[in-house]
């Protein structure tokens, strides 16, 4: 790989990854509740950080030459970043809902609060005594 190709690739991956981090952080100021903020940050963790890993790998490949161990580390980091950020976002959103964080008032429809029209919520696991003495 010649110098020009390596420099261009490192620049494109590194700068686009950094810009994705920046714009994801700015997007967090444009939305109003915790769930939306977790949501709009996923470009940074799902695409920005893997791009920076790709830039680092191309740089190492150019300066130190090819080695299987560095390729393995890069692929491992790439895959793990995507999986970990997904599972972490799931955990964050679940804990945010379970802790009673309010959702933005313009969230519509909000199926966590209102079931679809025509659906009656019946809890099949509720004990039978609760149905008789339930609020009727």
């Amino acid at each position: 790989m010649n110098d020009v190709t390596a420099t261009v690739l490192v620049g494109v991956f590194g700068i686009s990854g950094s810009l994705l981090m920046l714009f994801s952080a700015l997007a967090m100021f444009r939305v109003r509740d915790a769930l939306s903020r977790i949501n709009v940050f996923s470009p940074a963790t799902g695409l920005g950080m893997p791009l920076i890993v790709a830039a680092a790998y191309v740089y190492v490949l150019h300066t130190e030459g090819f080695a299987w161990i560095t390729l393995l580390m890069a692929v491992g980091a790439f895959v793990c970043l995507i999986i970990v950020s997904s599972v972490a976002s799931n955990t964050l959103s679940r804990s945010s809902v379970l802790s009673g964080q309010p959702v933005h008032r313009k969230t519509s429809p909000n199926r966590l609060a209102h079931p679809p029209a025509g659906v009656v919520d019946v809890d099949p696991d509720a004990p039978a005594a609760a149905e008789e003495t339930g609020e009727s």
Binding site: S24, V31, S36, S93, G118, V119, P124
Partner: protein, 139 residues
């Protein structure tokens, strides 16, 4: 063999969804006249049945920028498991559900070797049982 082909196409589909979703989140910041996002939480009854399918589907939804799994309801003997998905940039509940069911069909094609033939489960799943009841009583 078919699973491998479906798996590769699914990985490509998810990668493309990540790129387009990221572009949406960034590009929307430069449209100052309209509101940035229209948040909604939609209810998605699942066709995915096993733990692996449900875990993969939840991770796929969450890694796609613009959609986020907020809660998972366990399935019962009569109702399928349900995701509650927070979506930011969808036009309506219907288009959000169509996109999610498209992703689920591709995922099930990967885990089961072929796409499911059944249509997405309806919200009111008890209707056929209620209709069948009187017929049994008459005979």
């Amino acid at each position: 063999m078919m699973r491998l082909i479906h798996g590769i196409s699914y990985v490509g589909y998810i990668a493309w969804a990540i790129v387009t979703g990221s572009v949406t989140i960034v590009a929307r910041q430069f449209r100052f006249s309209r509101p940035y996002a229209e948040p909604m939480i939609v209810e998605v009854p699942l066709r995915a049945a096993t733990d692996l399918e449900i875990t993969l589907f939840a991770s796929s939804i969450t890694i796609t920028p613009g959609t986020l799994v907020t809660a998972i309801a366990a399935g019962t003997s009569t109702a399928p498991p349900v995701f509650f998905v927070h979506a930011l940039f969808e036009d309506s509940e219907q288009t959000a559900l169509e996109g999610l069911y498209d992703m689920e069909s591709r995922l099930l094609a990967m885990t089961r070797g072929r796409a499911p033939v059944s249509s997405p489960p309806a919200h009111v799943s008890s209707t056929p049982i209620a209709e069948a009841g009187p017929e049994r009583g008459e005979s």
